[in-house]
Symmetry: C2
Subunit: 206 residues, 2 copies
Amino acid sequence: MQKPKVPDIVVGRLPLYLRALSQMKSEGKRVTSSQELGERLGISSAQIRKDLSQFGGFGKQGTGYNIAYLADQLKTILKVDRVWDVALIGVGDLGRAVANYGGFLHRGFRIVAVFDNDPAKIGSRIGSFIVEDATNLVTSIRSKAIKVAMIAVSQVDAQAVTDRLVEAGVLGILCYAPISIAVPSHVKVQYIDPVVHLQRMTYHLP
Amino acid sequence: MQKPKVPDIVVGRLPLYLRALSQMKSEGKRVTSSQELGERLGISSAQIRKDLSQFGGFGKQGTGYNIAYLADQLKTILKVDRVWDVALIGVGDLGRAVANYGGFLHRGFRIVAVFDNDPAKIGSRIGSFIVEDATNLVTSIRSKAIKVAMIAVSQVDAQAVTDRLVEAGVLGILCYAPISIAVPSHVKVQYIDPVVHLQRMTYHLP
């Protein structure tokens, strides 16, 4: 599939469309419309049509979208028509919750390695993982050819861990530490910081 | 402070600016520039100047920004010059990690009530909280006048919990369940779904 240069904000909505379509599919629905999708997501139907049109036409005028077909197309576009191996660094409370989260695999991701630098944690079992020594991070990630990582270490350690992930060949980092990390331009970073979201809401509150 | 109608995407960057400024402050810095801020955040200095100009001028031409002053102004704009009481619903692995997270208070939020519907969890202690029966959610949240909540329940329960939070007078909901929830227009919602972020990265990966 040819991929035009699409604004990142549009790319950011595709996973929401895919999530809603998968939900509809699990409800037994077969066809939907930009209106229905928009109502579920709180996004205007015009926005959805415009976003999807950037990747070609997925619906026929008047007949709506075939849910399974559109979901498959979005999976291909987002490259989750495959399963990505993921490394998780840091198994404090949050890292442990992430390691045990059952929602990754059916959406394209599988944690395959878990690291920490705490001697008390190294070698211990978390779910189906044995916690590896973070000292071996670069070697281990390289040998497994892992390209995606999640960082759940403290903000003090986040940049040093990032540097080693980049050295290991990781291309995408999801950072749970409340700090902006520096990476070379070929590496993509996304952040999860609940306080950023909370503050974005309180701005609007009376 | 007069508040102009600012695009939500701009509002969404303010917490990042505030976070970086607080970090700089803790490093002992007193003055910064849009260039320096931009480098830390991976955002262009022009974008930062444009965003901040929507709220009035915070820096004098050529002298940069006073970090403490700009941080205080952003706190006022984001309404985190106060501390918001927060309710947390759901104490599975993730909810437990959120309850134990130490990063809320100094950024404007304090969890004051924790709920679950699991009899095995109700009445148990998580950190400094006693888990309340979710049956009493509306009464308890109303009596405490809580306006902000975080949902860490399963996607099956998320909408029902949302409806009761709205009934209880909550105005802002941070949803960790991987589903879009429906709320009246006066209620703000933000989402945290790691897979959405991961897919947004894999789109760009080779």
